[in-house]
């Protein structure tokens, strides 16, 4: 994994806006000035991100920060409103349809909800076997291929004729993983993949991710709000707040020497097993709504070190130490 190698996945200035689609009457009314035009939610705001081959990039943030949207853009499920998503240097959007489709298969997503992410009307064998069959990825017996995928995800192939509702949450998540692996991806985007699971099952699935990484040389974008899991699994970590990346660095640096005030607050407030009967002191203020993000630095209303400049000007994500980037005006003081 040399530094000279280009990143496997690169997001360049990626933004994604969600606007409520208006029907014809609404559009006419807005044109005529009778009704205010609907606001757009800037779910992701000018993000630059790289993921190198073989590494695990942890993406951390709270609800509404846009990490799920970012993950979907990385997986090709959503297209960016602005900016480009490059995989191995190639832009999916610029490719012809057939090639783009095949290229899509190399980036697969593991979803959060084990109950909604499987088609309840299909048997497991079909869920896992459909895509590789349709894309001609199987040479030889389809059933043997499906069995191998299930076994790799830690499931007994004897149950492949069953339906999703007959499995537990952890098993369904494994089915989802088998389905993703069946199309031979290089890159997995895990969107809160263990959040909905029991603690003891979480550990099993996290271990499975690590094994697959070693066995298959996979690269991960691991999206989660659980800092403990991210710290354990990731090589590098990026912190998101309200659509922007506020800090990105190697995991030891983010957790050991957090620079951005939001990162510091986040780390301070995570409940830990070791701290007993603590006095919880929280940062004041609510998570702002993505519809009305604060001007300048998104975090300034809640930041204990806010300056007048923070309200006026949005800080840029800059390198403050080798491999450590942070978006905060405080760093300019030094």
């Amino acid at each position: 994994m040399s530094l000279a190698e280009p990143p496997l996945l690169e997001l360049c200035g990626v933004s994604r806006l969600f606007a409520r689609r208006q029907d014809m009457i609404g559009r006419l009314a807005a044109r005529a000035g009778l009704v205010a035009a609907p606001q757009a939610v800037r779910a992701v705001d000018g993000v630059d991100l790289q993921v190198r081959r073989g590494e695990v990039l942890g993406l951390v943030g709270e609800s509404g920060c846009g990490k799920s949207t970012l993950g979907r853009m990385a997986a090709g499920l959503l297209s960016p409103t602005r900016g480009r998503v490059l995989y191995r240097g190639a832009d999916f959007a610029a490719m012809p349809a057939g090639a783009a489709r095949r290229a899509r298969l190399t980036v697969q997503m593991i979803f959060q909800d084990p109950y909604a992410s499987l088609n309840p009307r299909l048997r497991v064998a079909e869920i896992v076997g459909e895509a590789p069959r349709v894309h001609g990825l199987i040479d030889g017996d389809e059933q043997a291929y499906v069995d191998a995928q299930l076994r790799r995800a830690g499931l007994d192939p004897g149950y492949k004729r069953r339906y999703p509702h007959q499995f537990s949450g952890g098993q369904r998540q494994r089915i989802g993983i088998a389905r993703a692996l069946a199309v031979r991806p290089e890159f997995l985007v895990c969107d809160e993949a263990v959040a909905a699971l029991d603690v003891s099952i979480q550990a099993q699935i996290i271990n499975l991710f690590m094994e697959l990484r070693d066995q298959l040389g996979l690269t991960y974008l691991f999206i989660s709000h659980d800092l403990g899991v991210v710290e354990h699994l990731s090589d590098r970590v990026a912190i998101m707040y309200l659509g922007r990346i506020v800090e990105a660095a190697a995991v030891e640096q983010v957790f050991g020497r957090p620079n951005h005030p939001y990162t510091q607050a986040l780390l301070a407030e995570v409940p830990r097993l070791e701290t007993r009967r603590r006095r919880f002191t929280a940062i004041a203020g609510e998570l702002p709504s993505p519809l009305h993000p604060p001007a300048g630095c998104h975090f300034h209303p809640r930041c204990p070190h806010a300056m007048p400049r923070c309200r006026a000007e949005a800080p840029v994500l800059r390198e403050i130490a080798p491999g450590h980037r942070s978006a905060c005006h405080l760093n300019d003081r030094a």
Binding site: D198, V229, P271, R272, R277, S289
Partner: protein, 333 residues
């Protein structure tokens, strides 16, 4: 069969003895809560920890007598200030609910009616117990909103639940729970669905309020870290039974049940970064098909032949109870 309870410093305000709540399903009888005993003293926080199928939520619901068919309390006593709640009439129970005992649920939309304004709901809750004029009730509502840290309570009272964020809604739910200064609050995973920063806020509020008013708190959760920070004592549940209980420090630093220690060891922060997490093998128990004897047997690294019999709760250290034949085999994490 009553188990010896650890001696509490003061008389417990809630004392559950051998509670059994079973669900009568088509496929069989599900012993969701099967012989659970614990006590909570005034001003104390007891954390009830477990995963799915452990019975922790059903325990909370049973204390509130909110269990609906096909579930039913089939045995045991729920002593609240000496009165057995399991035997009370529904009318008497309604007097207590929201008044002396309150519950906060995981999903604030369970507590809040989405089609009614907040002031309507709060005022309704105030007037449900005791005769109060509308004006006085409204004043109480404003006071309750301010108490849980909602900015500009006067104006926000006329809003609807969907106009608040998740964290705010949960705070309102807590405000409703606190309206009548209950002596006991049962909180069922109230912060699980909330972000870390908001969770910290809610925990801070709850802690402060419990301290100020001497409210006893039964905090049901699957998250050991939250319990570590909040609770004084903790009880760990598995397959409908308490398998370990004691002071938070003792249980978390020196767990004696293989399940407790397994849970603690599987937390990522307890493992070397990048190494395989120590995991508990197998699946969460299927209550319809529990193994004979110790329910944890099939997943336990220390299981032996003796485990085919049902273990009882024994006191391994002052105030620490464990349901295991081989607690000494569990080494400290």
């Amino acid at each position: 069969m009553m188990q010896a309870l650890p001696a509490a410093a003061t008389a417990p305000i809630l004392e559950v003895r051998d509670l059994r709540t079973h669900f009568f399903m088509r496929a069989g009888v599900v012993p969701a809560v099967d012989g659970v005993s614990f006590g909570v003293a005034p001003g104390e926080v007891l954390g009830l920890v477990g995963e799915s199928g452990s019975g922790k939520t059903v325990t909370g619901f049973s204390v509130m007598r909110l269990v609906e068919p096909p579930g039913r309390i089939v045995g045991g006593k729920i002593l609240f200030r000496g009165r057995d709640l399991a035997q009370l009439s529904e009318r008497a129970m309604r007097d207590l609910r929201g008044n002396r005992i309150a519950m906060v649920f995981q999903d604030p939309m369970t507590t809040l009616n989405p089609v009614l304004r907040i002031d309507t709901q709060l005022i309704e809750a105030v007037r449900a117990h005791g005769r109060t004029s509308r004006r006085a009730a409204r004043a109480r509502a404003v006071e309750a909103m301010a108490m849980v840290g909602i900015p500009q309570p006067e104006e926000r009272l006329s809003a609807y639940p969907h106009q608040f964020s998740g964290g705010m809604r949960q705070r309102i739910a807590i405000a409703i729970a606190l309206l009548h200064r209950p002596e006991l609050i049962i909180a069922d995973e109230p912060t699980t669905a909330l972000d870390v920063t908001i969770q910290a806020q809610i925990l801070a509020e709850v802690q402060r309020l419990a301290r100020e008013h001497g409210t006893a708190l039964l905090w049901i959760t699957h998250d050991l870290s939250v319990v570590a920070g909040l609770a004084d004592r903790v009880a760990v549940m598995y397959a409908g039974r308490i398998v370990e209980s004691g002071a938070v420090d003792r249980v978390l630093d020196h767990p004696r049940h293989p399940y407790t220690s397994g849970l603690i060891e599987s937390v990522p922060s307890r493992n070397r970064r990048g190494a395989r997490l120590r995991q508990i093998p197998g699946m969460t128990p299927n209550l319809l098909a529990l193994p004979r004897g110790c329910a944890f047997r099939t997943r336990c690294p220390h299981a032996a032949d003796a485990c085919a019999a049902e273990p009882r709760l024994t006191e391994t250290a002052p105030g620490q109870m464990v349901r295991c034949f081989y607690p000494e085999r569990v080494t400290a994490a």
